[in-house]
Symmetry: C2
Subunit: 345 residues, 2 copies
């Protein structure tokens, strides 16, 4: 059987109360006694029963998630995952609130962060927009002892505790590698479609993509980036123009959202099969396009994993514990039509 506090008390020859004082860093223990207890803990290999401890403490973690509003499928999926986590809140001793802010709007985001601060949560998870006022707001939260985790899109240089998201430079590189290889010897330039250069994840994907293209496929011409604001209608118009202007277009890398617009533009023009399209995020729309062949490969970050990781990290930080970075790393999934996960109900 696994040792308990009683066993430690017996082993160390002290009372239960003293063991408790040592375990929970309560004052009033001589250092010799403390040593005795710590030796007993080490000797028996005692580990606190977290379930029993949480039960006794009855502690809960009030957390706030700040997510962009709008019809972006990925973000709505992310929100669904947060709601799923809310359903588990009883078991996980969390108390989660969702705050919605306009997409790509730094002032609104900063205001929402300060709003969140008023509620004195244990932690805040936020899909960041890169701006000084946002970084400043994050700093204020941290000063109040509120843990802050950036979600999906990071805010480097700020004082956030952790970033729960994928390595977007690697994602861009992967997209570049796939694009280069899929195109093989085929002629023609490649277009890049982003949401907004205000968010870090998009910038990084672009950086990674360009790096691989120039290193490994230097002959391929990359057209200037087009920003679609993650808005399907705008994206469709932009792609219409691209297709019209570049009759020899070989590939499109869509590194943001708004895939619906991309897909309908390609299909409308009858160039879905001819053009190699690589996009991000597995949503019902992008999934369908992958199956029909309009999209050739999808890079995905698992929103569920990201949300669960953010919660784990926030709880740990709120308790002043460190996290095992490797364990919280979010992987980049690559989906072809052949390895799509079965659709969930």
């Amino acid at each position: 059987m696994r040792p308990t506090v009683h066993d430690i008390a017996a082993e160390a020859g002290v009372s239960l109360a003293t063991v408790d004082r040592v375990l929970n860093n309560r004052p009033g223990v001589r250092s010799v006694t403390r040593d005795k207890v710590e030796r007993a803990i080490a000797a028996l290999g005692y580990v606190r029963d977290v379930a029993a401890a949480n039960l006794a403490k009855g502690r809960t973690y009030p957390l706030i998630f700040i997510l962009p509003a709008g019809e972006n499928s990925f973000m709505r999926g992310l929100e669904a995952e947060v709601r799923a986590a809310m359903a588990r809140s009883a078991a996980e001793r969390t108390d989660i609130t969702i705050l919605s802010v306009p997409a790509f709007d730094a002032p609104a985001l900063a205001a929402a962060l300060l709003d969140a601060r008023e509620q004195r949560p244990a932690g805040v998870a936020v899909v960041a927009v890169e701006a000084p006022e946002v970084a400043e707001a994050v700093k204020r939260l941290r000063e109040d002892g509120i843990a802050v985790v950036t979600l999906v899109s990071d805010l480097p240089g700020s004082e956030r505790d952790h970033f729960a998201g994928v390595d977007n430079i690697a994602a861009g590189r992967t997209a570049g590698s796939l694009m280069g290889r899929f195109l093989g010897g085929r002629e023609g330039p490649v277009a890049v479609l982003a949401g907004s250069m205000l968010v870090r994840d998009h910038c990084e994907r672009l950086e990674g993509f360009r790096a691989v293209m120039s290193e490994d496929f230097p002959g391929r011409r990359i057209l200037p980036v087009v920003e679609g604001q993650d808005n399907p209608a705008l994206v469709e118009t932009l792609v219409d123009t691209l297709l019209d202007k570049h009759r020899d277009l070989a590939g499109i890398y869509s590194l943001g959202a708004g895939n619906r617009g991309l897909v309908s533009a390609l299909e409308k023009a009858g160039r879905a099969k001819a053009i190699c399209a690589i996009a991000h995020e597995l949503t019902p729309h992008s999934r369908a396009a992958l199956v029909t062949g309009t999209i050739d490969a999808l890079l995905n970050q698992n929103a569920g994993h990201e949300v669960r990781s953010a919660i784990r990290v926030l709880k740990a930080k709120a308790d002043g514990l460190s996290v095992i970075a490797a364990q919280e790393r979010i992987r980049i999934d690559i989906f072809l039509k052949d390895n799509l996960p079965v659709e969930q109900a």
Copy 2:
């Protein structure tokens, strides 16, 4: 606050003892009373506090993992993950034992299963070899009320409770898709290297690979399968022969283990860059080969996920609970040199 058994008792107007009888299916409750309690549970949205319940029960789950012996890197990684789970056993209330059997040896595996049965565990996880005697042994375990999960390689048609592994047909299809696209218009046949056709996972990968090649890339010639027994030395000899015999070889799909042999044969022959190699499982060796470019793509199943899923399922089955299949689905990871996870310490 979340409702407790006391709240249900009050709401239903019965005693705590009666609530307990209903919750734990104990006898001696009239159906009218049972209904009353169940309505109260539904009305209050009561969910059992699993942590508290486990604490009170003090239940542990004795589990046995049966793994193939030998120097197969993937299997050793799998074993390491099982050992990691053993380290967590206190927190998870499991008591895990590992049994090692020779690889691809059905009689030995069947004997090990019956051995495991003698220890009356709550559940057994096994890397299956497909043979009637193995299926028969699994049946005996199930008759004794022992939960059985196949791990990595399945045993379809047997009475196992669950398969914790990837969809290997999809994995083979994915490999085929990548191979076809990476080769593009390049000339030359493709070789296929397996471990043994005695294990289901290898058969299925081959099936998926051949299906995609004939559907999507019908012009490409696929050479007859070569079996390397997951043995690096044997694999190297076989690949030497292949390279010698087919001077125009365009690609190699290695669907089993023994990547070390494949890599050294390719590099020795100076044809590492010219031949498109797709292999399975991320190990230190295959990782290095991916970085240098000898291997072009790696398909991977995350051994840690598989082990943890197997344990969750075994615990649930031991308690007679059902599992959410979608939640236990293991994904197929695709790694290129650009999206390799950072090496862990």
